[in-house]
Amino acid sequence: MTNAIQVNGLRKSYGAKEVLKGIDLCVRRGDIFALLGVNGAGKTTTLECIEGLRKYDGGSISVNGSIGIHLQSAALPAHIKGLEAVRLFSKWNRTNADASMLTALGTDSIANQQYQEMSTGQKRRLHLALALIRNPDIVFLDEPTAGLDVEGRISLHEYIRNLKGQGKTILLASHDMAEVESLCDSIAILKDGEIAFQGTVMELTEKIGKHYNIHIQTDKGTEHYESDDIGNSLLAILKHYQEKNTMIQDIQVDRGSLEQHFLKIAKGE
């Protein structure tokens, strides 16, 4: 089975500044793939090069399928209504998309609402509807939930899962680690214009090490420990409290979050 997206040695400079330094990426068909990185790491540039919206200086990009694009920075004329926008883009792309596009996204209410009167969440959904008008095989989502409230995020996540259920490949750029952890099959972390990691979240955890956070609550307060060897560390900690004759009230152990792993790779923390 061919990959949905294959990128080899992608290079891009803005003037003297090299933003992408030979990126290799591979997105499997039907996956939700997240591109992560701190601000300025080159996520949006990478996406825009793959989408064909930005020229690149070197390397090759292969996109196998039709694409729909939800940009981080997109807008519509202030006075256009939701349904008019859907009809305009639909007619221009010779599709039959209509009010049903808005219904599917749970945004019937914006059909007759002007763009300038829509909330951030409504605008995001409208742009997502426009991205899906051509029923694309591959959907690019650049920060789709930025600025949304919790309810908006949850329902958009649900919709993104539905898209995956329809067999679509989704390439997502996001800052929200919880979103990435709950949605994505695989991830890539961009650091200084290079891919610092590519694989599944589990593989990232393996790469970073079996990192554990241990939280011990006593009558004197809560103390935190970090360890790569949970067995020996716990024994040592328990022995330490026993020797001090301190009563332990609660013990919590968790594996480091994706956020912690991401920061280790992206920022070297």
Binding site: I69, A74, A75, E84, K91
Partner: protein
């Protein structure tokens, strides 16, 4: 209805919803016509011969130079162009649709003046209507082409108004619609010829199309279209 036709009808509706377009294409020209029409015809009764032409030149120049650039800036100097590019709509569509829509709005406004002026101020309708309407169509097209340059070239949306006014004022003041150009100092008379309003006005009051009056408008139009193509290409290239 195909995409282009739907886009045109939609742009027409968007213009009607936009206060800027309504004010510059209809409200101000009508107000100017009501006030200046009364003054001109009282102070200079001979102005009744050309009041329709002069008021129309004012309306077209204002509607095009001040009304169109903000609509273009809204598309090309904002993230709207990103939505066009991302969703398979040619970037030139915005330019074409806004121009077409403005063209018809200006034509409607001109028709209103044509009908109302004789009733309101007992002025003479143009002796050669076919020359008048032909000249009007050419003037609208040329004025919009210049307005398009402002809309595409000025990077800061707020600055479009400043550049529009900088072109609009000499266009109308030096075109001959307020007072005969022969009364102007020579440098101003020459400067007036740089703007389409002067040539358009002359075209609309003449009895026939002459090459002498037409060629400056054709040159200005072709140069403006070429410049718009270059600007559009520059905007498209990321």
């Amino acid at each position: 209805m195909n995409g282009f036709l739907y886009g045109f009808v939609l742009q027409w509706k968007l213009d009607l919803r936009s206060r800027t377009m309504l004010i510059t294409c209809y409200a101000v020209p009508l107000l100017f016509f009501a006030v200046m029409g009364g003054i001109f015809t009282s102070v200079m009764p001979e102005s009744k011969e050309t009041l329709i032409q002069s008021m129309t030149v004012f309306a077209v120049t204002m509607g095009a130079l001040i009304g169109l650039p903000p609509s273009l800036a809204e598309i090309y100097r904002s993230d709207v162009k990103n939505a066009y590019q991302a969703n398979g709509v040619p970037l030139s569509l915005g330019l074409i649709l806004t121009n077409l829509s403005a063209f018809f709005h200006l034509l409607v406004m001109s028709f209103i003046l044509y009908v109302i002026a004789p009733i309101a101020f007992d002025v003479k309708i143009p002796e050669y209507p076919e020359i008048y309407w032909g000249g009007l169509i050419i003037l609208i097209a040329v004025s919009l082409s210049i307005a398009s340059i402002i809309g595409l070239a000025v990077k800061d949306t707020a600055n479009t108004s400043m550049f529009s006014i900088l072109l609009f004022l000499p266009s109308t003041m030096l075109s001959g619609i307020m007072f005969p150009v022969d009364l102007l100092p020579k440098p101003f008379e020459i400067a007036g010829k740089l703007f389409p309003a002067a040539w358009g006005y002359r075209l609309m009051i003449e009895s026939t199309f002459t090459v002498h009056t037409l060629w400056p408008l054709i040159v200005i139009f072709l140069a403006a279209v070429a410049l718009c193509c270059i600007l559009l290409k520059k905007i498209r290239t990321r």
